[in-house]
């Protein structure tokens, strides 16, 4: 017995299974089981926590309503706007911070990165403070100074959208910049030297060398940004934690939260979850295709 145990401890065959066992357990209990459960629940009407009855596609039919449509629209627009800011601007930061012209790179990089450390709630408190409703709040007094009307930021769809996008940009630009910096540092220096000998200017070098070689990282950041865009929750919660007048700030995940936890409709909540899963899968598939195409191109 003791001997068998001993040989087990020394066995190269058994060891890897011992090492990966925590993942297997966690996967089955906290991933596989809940995933199957979501599918099952999405076909059920759940009253209380124990009694459920199957209602067929009823929950999915309920998806065709104006609130879900609004949530989908808000997520899509939000994702689009964050992409428009989060791809080009951090690339610009990275390219400049990688050039020999800038002194004090570490300081600048640190300053841009620091907002990434804040939680979405703390960041949201900062923004609520700056974008207060009163005419004397920071941004409104700035607007008045340059002759524009002050805004009730949280009450308008587009001003609300602006706040969420800015908040996310402020928190994420530093991380994206670091990705691009890592990508830039892996581009061999000789490429630039030979291009310079051939008479390529700075803009041409950026366009014909830097950007094409950054492409894998751009695709990667694009994927994360889309992924994060569709699962967004905190950015909306921090601005409209109680009610969302006219569905301002209603996103897909907030809709799940609202239906499941505030209105106790777990079945419908699960159906929204499955819809979100499909969306994310489609995005992933498109992204995989992109990656595949890119690989072929390079070989």
């Amino acid at each position: 017995m003791v001997k068998a145990l001993r040989s087990l401890l020394y066995s190269e065959k058994v060891a890897p299974y011992i090492f990966v066992s925590p993942f297997i357990v966690a996967f089955v209990v906290f991933f596989l089981y809940p995933t199957i459960n979501t599918f099952v629940m999405s076909f059920q009407e759940i009253v209380g926590l124990d009694s459920a009855r199957f209602v067929g596609l009823e929950n999915y039919k309920k998806l065709f309503n104006v609130h879900f449509y609004n949530a989908l629209k808000t997520n899509t627009l939000y994702t689009l706007f964050t992409l428009l800011l989060l791809i080009p601007i951090p690339i610009l930061f990275a390219v400049f911070l990688n050039s020999a012209f800038v002194k004090g790179k570490t300081f600048f990089r640190t300053s841009i990165f620091i907002p990434a450390l804040t939680s979405v709630i703390v960041a949201g408190v900062c923004f609520r403070l700056m974008f207060g409703e009163l005419d004397t709040a920071l941004v409104n007094s700035l607007l008045i100074k340059i002759g524009l009307p002050p805004q009730k930021w949280l009450l308008g769809y587009w001003t609300g959208m602006l706040l969420m996008v800015l908040l996310h940009f402020w928190k994420t630009a530093g991380i994206f910049m670091v990705y691009y910096l890592a990508g830039l540092q892996s581009i061999p220096h000789e490429l630039y030297e030979s291009a310079q000998i051939d008479g390529a200017g700075a803009v041409q070098r950026l366009w014909y060398i830097t950007l094409p070689l950054l492409k894998p990282i751009v695709i990667y950041t694009l994927t994360i940004a889309i992924f994060e865009g569709y699962r967004m929750f905190g950015e909306s919660y921090v601005f409209w934690n109680e009610g969302m007048p006219g569905d301002i700030g209603l996103t897909i995940v907030r809709y799940i939260y609202q239906q499941a936890f505030q209105r106790n409709d777990m079945g419908f909540g699960s159906a929204i979850g499955i819809a979100l899963l499909c969306l994310v899968m489609i995005v992933n598939l498109i992204q995989l295709r992109f990656f595949g195409m890119f690989k072929k191109e390079r070989d």
């Binding site: 925590p22 809940p34 907002p115 804040t118 408190v125 009163l134 991380i175 934690n241 109680e242």
Partner: protein, 279 residues
């Protein structure tokens, strides 16, 4: 030519000074506001100056005394949950990553594929069944309910696996010849070699846990069990009457991370950008 370079340099440096001010300003504004009386908070206009006559520590005093000092409980909960999650998460994820990176065995690729699959799945869709599971396991409103479901972090497993794949395996054979058990080889020989990966992932997990929002929001039910982000969010009201405490509480909530960051920038950056490691 030299002159032109000089000019580019100056323009770029001015540009980045402006950018840095823009990025740091919201935090500066938050810290300044935390010392101001509540009725002044939204009346500052464009005045960013430090006016010591108006500033005091009342908001902080209020934060600690109001509501029976519940803020301190939130702080304690955040610290404990972060410490437990990070410690346990590092232990388990490094084991799994090591198993996948250091051995050839049947099912290895399949398990790695599962890790990637979990990585690509938004946790938000699992909230409802996980919530039900937590109820039946009796983990609602407990630290264990916040920590356990996500303690084997797929991103950390992925990172450790990549890291271990790049380590020389000769050390393992040397350990075997010296009569070390496989588990002994992991703890005594390989873990020390994995130190940089532990640094990066420790910071990533700690920050994820410290700032985590949606899952603790669901699991934690009573006021004194909340973590900092959930507690602060509970102070947000449409009437804005809690801003004095809210702002002071927010400032104290970011201070630990900023301090840790300033001392370990390199590990922080490699941790937070861990997903970018290519395999």
């Amino acid at each position: 030519m030299k002159k032109k370079n000089m000019l580019t340099s100056i323009v770029l440096i001015l540009f980045f000074i402006a950018v840095s001010i823009l990025f740091l300003f919201p935090l500066y504004y938050l810290v300044m506001a935390s010392f101001k009386p509540a009725d002044e908070l939204f009346r500052n206009g464009l005045d960013f100056s430090i006016n010591l006559d108006l500033m005091n520590l009342n908001n902080y005093r209020l934060l600690f005394t109001d509501g029976g000092g519940v803020y301190l409980s939130w702080y304690k909960n955040s610290l404990l949950i972060t410490a437990l999650y990070t410690g346990l998460g590092l232990f388990l994820s490094s084991m799994v990553g090591y198993g996948l990176g250091a051995y050839q065995f049947k099912g290895r690729n399949f398990i790695f594929l599962l890790v990637l699959f979990v990585l690509m799945m938004p946790v938000e869709i699992l909230m409802l069944p996980l919530y039900k599971l937590m109820i039946s396991l009796g983990m609602i409103n407990k630290y264990s309910g916040v920590i356990l479901p996500f303690v084997v972090s797929p991103i950390a497993v992925f990172f450790f696996r990549q890291f271990v794949s790049g380590l020389p395996k000769d050390f393992m054979d040397a350990g075997r010849i010296d009569g070390c058990t496989e588990i002994g080889i992991f703890f005594r020989i390989m873990v020390p070699l994995m130190a940089p990966a532990f640094g990066a992932m420790g910071i990533l997990l700690a920050m994820q846990s410290w700032n985590n929002f949606i899952w603790p929001l669901i699991v934690l039910r009573t006021n004194e069990m909340l973590t900092l982000p959930i507690g602060l969010a509970s102070m947000l009201t449409p009437y804005g009457n809690n801003y004095d405490k809210l702002i002071a509480g927010s400032v104290l909530a970011i201070i630990p991370i900023i301090i840790v960051f300033l001392f370990n920038q390199r590990a922080f950056i490699s941790g937070l950008t861990a997903g970018g490691v290519k395999g």
